[in-house]
């Protein structure tokens, strides 16, 4: 594992708008089309060797961001700069590079380059019961990416690769698991297969979208440990997406808190958890239940009111202002700038802007 000074992924102003269907009244009165602004100007960097976490409530755009980076969705705007290395970099023609060694994945790329780069960024989904084809054996599930990307010439070679992938995710002995169908595996084992499938192409970036939230509490730690073990032996950056701050704080190097399509606070895990600056982050942390029976005698102070508004009607100015206990006049008018409060710790809030 090596940590580079330069980020492997630089996301800049990433946007994804989903159009809403217009009602008959809106069409007749020629109202403009409305959009759900799921991701609305997100920027962050990811480094090899770290676990970068996007945390937020449902509907904040964290999953959409993950899917944009994996390119399962086309962005509406913005850039996803990716720095390929070694063999892959040498196969990419000069004209595809956007700036010093980075390729912009949000741009249209020639087909063979596109395919090459898709190998580099893989994803593990939340639901291990839905993300594996129930009619395919584990062997075939793992063989498919090899076929698609033409890896391994002969069947023996591929079998060898699959064996190795299975033993790496500790599904041993591999012979025993290869011929099983997903329904014959437990949730934890299925999630291991999902990780094997993502790792078999030797990616540099793996997006893990709530990989443990569907699993029983007693085996969650097993999958989290597997993630760290897999990273220890290779050059890999994780984008970990979760709603659970306790898991994020346990696993991640840096945390970005999302609210309604924007990142409101980013920083090293300890900084964000112990020294949160944004009112929303503070509320999120205050709301996390803890396994301490003394809590039953006290009401938990959650300083913010109401619930997340719809991403189709984002409030003007700072999008958090209708729920913010410190909202000022300015907050409802202007979007707050992103400021560095400590090295590496950024927050978007008018409270921290210099007067």
């Amino acid at each position: 594992m090596r940590r580079m000074a330069e980020p492997v992924v630089k996301v800049r102003d990433l946007m994804k708008y989903f159009p809403l269907r217009r009602g008959i009244k809106e069409i007749i009165t020629m109202k403009p089309r409305r959009f759900v602004r799921a991701v609305d100007g997100v920027s962050f960097d990811m480094y090899i060797g770290e676990v970068f976490c996007l945390v937020g409530e449902s509907g904040c755009g964290k999953t959409t961001t993950g899917r944009l980076i994996t390119r399962l969705l086309e962005p509406t705007g913005g850039h996803i700069y990716y720095k390929p290395t070694g063999e892959v970099a040498s196969q990419i023609p000069e004209k595809c590079f956007a700036e010093d060694g980075y390729v912009d994945l949000a741009r249209k790329l020639p087909k063979h380059v596109d395919k090459l780069l898709r190998r580099e960024i893989q994803i593990v989904f939340q639901d291990p019961f839905g993300s594996l084809d129930p009619r395919m054996k584990v062997y075939d599930i793992l063989k498919e990416p090899l076929i698609v990307h033409r890896i391994g010439g002969s069947e023996e070679e591929r079998r060898e690769i699959i064996y190795r992938a299975l033993s790496e995710v500790k599904l041993v002995p591999p012979e025993q698991f290869m011929s099983r169908y997903p329904h014959m595996l437990s949730g934890g084992q299925r999630q291991r297969v999902a990780f094997a499938r993502a790792m078999i192409l030797k990616p540099t970036v793996v997006v893990a979208d709530e990989p443990v939230s569907m699993l029983d509490v007693s085996i969650r730690a097993e999958i989290l440990q597997l993630m760290l073990d897999l990273q220890a032996n290779r050059d890999l950056a994780y984008l970990f997406i979760t709603h659970d701050l306790a898991v994020a704080s346990y696993l991640c190097t840096r945390i970005a808190v999302m609210y309604l399509g924007r990142i409101v606070e980013t920083g090293p895990t300890d900084e964000v958890i112990n020294n949160p600056q944004h009112p929303y982050t503070k509320a999120l942390i205050a709301a996390v239940p803890e396994p301490d029976p003394k809590n039953r005698f006290k009401i938990r102070e959650v300083p913010i009111k109401g619930e997340v508004p719809s991403a189709a009607a984002i409030p003007p100015g700072c999008r958090f202002h209708p729920r913010c206990p410190y909202a000022m006049d300015r907050c409802s008018k202007e979007e707050p700038p992103t400021l560095e409060v400590k090295p590496g710790h950024y927050v978007s809030c008018w409270l921290h802007a210099k007067k």
Partner: protein, 319 residues
């Protein structure tokens, strides 16, 4: 000595499937006092939801109560006919907040119509009388009266969950059972709903059974905790005892597997998977996953033994 509000004794609830008999709840006993909250924790498939259904006589077929008794206020619910359960027990004495209940509100009726129904049926109230009671209850759960005229799709998840809680409390039940009442909610809303439960607990002197897989939530509300594994209660005691001094290896493992927000302590997991309840292992059901397993565990089933006053553990480690 005072009589407990609820006394469950050797309750067995089995599902008679083609594959065999699934012993989802097997010999479960506990008591609950008025004003007390019992938290039941366990992994998926441990029988905790089945236990809740059994308490209401609502076990879905092919399941049924195969033995034991459920005595509520001196009356054995297992002996009552379906008609009596329906007219005398459910909602009036015991109400339940089901998992995902907020999605069970009918989309075509207003909140008022839906809340008026139990009042009209059980209390014979007229709609206007019902309205007053509904307004009062909505206020108690932190909602505005105007919500009465709304339809479920106009409410947010948190608001719908509050409506469901209001519905459960409408007829002043003695016992409220909440099965994963916050699972579908976001953390902040979850914290708000947990605060509401704490308030309800303080204001109304009712018994509450709180079922969840999340031990942190149990710690937030329960006075007494029961840990279930494979259809059995393996440990039960006051919440200070179970959280502060867990004795069963399963409870210890569960507590060590929860990441805590301000602690860097390494979390661990319990290897293996829960057993198939059609053919549970002989002896202790936890032995295949237990690191302290002895010869005796493979043969003899451990019984609940009192290790300190009020703290019971089913494990051969404590002889």
């Amino acid at each position: 000595m005072n009589v407990p509000l609820l006394e469950v004794r050797n309750l067995k609830t089995y599902y008679y499937t083609l594959r065999g008999v699934v012993k989802a709840v097997d010999n479960v006993s506990f008591t609950l006092e008025r004003g007390e909250t019992l938290g039941i924790a366990g992994e998926s498939g441990c029988g905790k939801s089945t236990l809740a259904w059994a308490l209401l006589g609502l076990v879905p077929p092919p399941g049924r109560i195969a033995g034991g008794s459920i005595v509520l206020d001196g009356q054995d619910l297992t002996k009552l006919s379906e008609h009596d359960l329906r007219s005398k027990v459910r909602w009036k004495k015991v109400s339940m907040i089901f998992q995902g209940a907020m999605n069970a509100l009918t989309p075509v009726f207003t909140i008022e119509d839906q809340l008026a129904e139990p009042l009209m049926i059980h209390k014979g109230m007229h709609k206007d009388e019902a309205r007053e009671r509904i307004a009062e209850m909505l206020k108690a759960v932190g909602l505005d009266e105007t919500i009465m005229k709304r339809y479920p799709h106009e409410l947010s998840g948190g608001q719908k969950q509050r409506v469901i809680i209001a519905m459960a409390l409408l007829l002043n039940p003695d016992l409220v059972i909440a099965d994963e009442p916050t699972t579908a909610l976001d953390v902040i809303v979850q914290a708000q709903i947990m605060n509401l439960f704490k308030e309800i607990k303080r204001r109304y002197n009712i018994g509450m059974i709180f079922i969840t897989h999340d031990l942190s939530l149990i710690a937030e509300i329960a006075d007494k905790v029961a840990i279930m594994y494979a259809g059995k209660i393996v440990e039960i005691g006051s919440s200070d005892q179970v959280f502060g001094n867990p004795r069963h290896p399963y409870t210890q493992g569960l507590l060590r597997s929860i990441p805590r927000i301000r602690s860097k302590e390494k979390i661990t997991w319990i290897p293996g998977v829960p057993p198939d309840l059609v053919r549970p292992p002989p002896g202790c059901r936890f032995f295949p996953r237990c690191k302290y397993v002895k010869e005796q565990c493979r043969r003899e089933e451990p019984e609940l033994k009192e290790v300190e006053p009020g703290h019971f553990v089913a494990c051969h480690l404590y002889g």
